[in-house]
């Protein structure tokens, strides 16, 4: 294993369980992965697979009650699980920042955007009013907002969705965090704007030497912009590995199903997209076996009775959880 200091984020055996009226709900179970500096990792999975809960747990953002978190999240050497609010507050903004899903609701509608950016600068970094304003305008320029001096005084309601998401990113970048959590940063945006925002994130990552956790349900988003991918299903990792390996040599049928259900440019027009039959399982009624078994065409009796653990694949760093993995010879061009 690599030295602790080399990895920015080490998640180990992380579980988040909500206490609900129907019993314990394991939204995230036994997740382990790590993230190097200046690396982008993608977390993919369909709705309800626990992506958002995972990213919030890594941030240390849980409701105050009815939740138990076990395991460990080491963020640049700081343990986030079980840390006090005060401790986490010191890390938020400077160590880790978050870009939210919907730019329409992640800006305060009654505060000028400039003020929303320079508040953090003044409170957290102790900048003077003039310095903070100058820096805020710099940040607006950095995220590609035209005429930032005028925009500094705008209210969120005066900006378009894409512009707002740029502002959200500028706010997240204000205190130069080492890790940026982007929870579906493009879901609320037009396709053309999506590409712009993702390219912007990529560019900023390089320029500011950040690491990025990109949470998404869109495999097209992670394909070219991440070095590794975590595939989640029902709160667990079902496949993890280098992006190239996951795309070309995936072993888990769920990963294949996800890949097949995203449209490709090479498809003939009017090709019907392949869908995954059934729905994600009810996390309150998980069975003994593999959570994906009920929807999986390769499932055997064993799949229904025993949960597969993550096992190493041929490529280093690539592992999957499946009793009947897809053959490796398939699509081996990448290796």
């Amino acid at each position: 294993m690599t030295d602790v200091s080399e990895k920015l984020l080490i998640v180990e055996d992380l579980s988040t369980t909500f206490a609900t009226a129907g019993g314990p709900l394991p939204a995230v179970a036994n997740i382990s992965f790590d993230l190097g500096r200046n690396e982008t990792i993608g977390i993919v999975g369909e709705s309800g697979s626990g992506k958002t809960v995972l990213s919030r747990t890594i941030m240390g953002l849980q409701p105050r009650t009815n939740v138990s978190v076990t395991g460990s999240v080491l963020l640049d050497g700081n343990e986030m699980v079980g840390a006090s609010e005060d401790f986490k507050r010191r890390l938020w903004g400077t160590e880790v920042a978050m870009v939210f899903q919907d730019p329409m609701t992640s800006l305060n509608p009654v505060m000028r955007i400039g003020k929303q950016i320079d508040e953090a600068l003044r409170v957290r970094l102790g900048m003077s009013k003039q310095d903070a304003k100058a820096r805020a305008i710099e940040l607006l320029e950095l995220v590609g907002i035209p005429s930032p001096v005028q925009r500094y005084k705008a209210y969120p309601g005066q900006l378009s969705g894409g512009m707002r998401q740029r502002v959200v990113i500028a706010i997240a970048l204000a205190c130069s965090p080492k890790l940026l959590m982007a929870d579906e940063p493009t879901t609320g945006l037009d396709v053309t704007i999506q590409a712009q925002i993702l390219n912007l994130l990529d560019e900023l990552k390089e320029r500011l030497h950040m690491s990025v956790v990109l949470v998404t349900h869109d495999l097209g988003v992670v394909a070219t912009r991440t070095s590794r991918i975590v595939v989640m299903y029902a709160g667990r990792i079902v496949e993890i590995g280098a992006t190239r390996d996951v795309f070309a040599n995936h072993r888990m049928p769920y990963t294949r199903a996800l890949l097949e259900s995203s449209p490709k440019v090479s498809n003939a027009s009017h090709t019907r997209l392949i869908t995954i039959p059934g729905r994600p399982p009810n996390l309150l009624k998980l069975t003994q076996g593999c959570s994906f078994a009920p929807r999986c065409s390769y499932a055997t009796d064993k799949c229904h009775q025993e949960r597969p653990e993550l096992q190493a694949a041929d490529q280093p760093g690539h592992s999957f959880a499946c009793w009947n993995p897809l053959p490796t010879t398939r699509g081996d061009s990448a290796t």
Binding site: R89, W92, F100, V110, V123
Partner: protein
Amino acid sequence: MLELEEMALVERPEKKKPLGPLFWLCVGWIALNIFGAIFANVLPLQNPLYQNYSAINVGPSLHHIFGTDDIGRDIFSRIVYGSRVSIAVGFGSMVIGFGIGAPLGMLAAYRRGRFDTILTTFMYILLAFPAIIATIAVLSFWTPRSVFKIILVIGLASVPLVYRVIRTATLSVATKDYVIAAKVQGAKDRRILMKELLPNIAPIGISFLLIGIATVIALEGTLAFLGLSVTTPTPSWGNMINESRTVLQQNPWLAIFPSLALCLFLLSLNFIGDRLRSHFDVTEVKL
């Protein structure tokens, strides 16, 4: 392409509609009322308690512009003096109600957990008990009734109502992403309460405050009508309306003028509140 976009973005001045003459008329009217209430004993008014038995139940005239009541007191002067009680009760009790109810409501909605559960249950129990009966009960025994006591009782009775409205408003804001966003930027609780939550619930709070003032002034009238407001002969708009009831046939002016004063005051207040809200609303996109 970019030029076009820039033009569209840059040249969108924050041009605000002027508040309009009606707004200023209402402000003027409220100011006049408050001015009258404060300087009633300096202004050249007739003594509101002086009973002129040679002019009973006379209609509006040059000497008594609003006429006199059934024991010969000048109605105009009594309305001006009466505004003191009405306005003091209206604003005073809302200061108490919001002073206690609003911070508790915001805190409960932001903190959640046991604090919220206990406080909210307690407030809902209070709400289940009709406030008017509690007010009547307390004021019946707590004599002699003064403006201060009435303000205190109505103010305290309004706390659960204010609490409920502010708590609900805060709840809907506190779960918004921008509050979490502020939190993960390292903002402290007090900052989130003051900078993120307060400005966003302010429009609801102000609307409710103005409706509250109006309701309380009317409630003071109700109490006066029951003889539970300030002890006579001190006039208030409410007890003037109450006294007019016995002589409604002979002298309708006695009911009309204080009702008109009450009505115009409340109308102006509500209109001002409404205009201010839409004037300072930055969440609506203005194109």
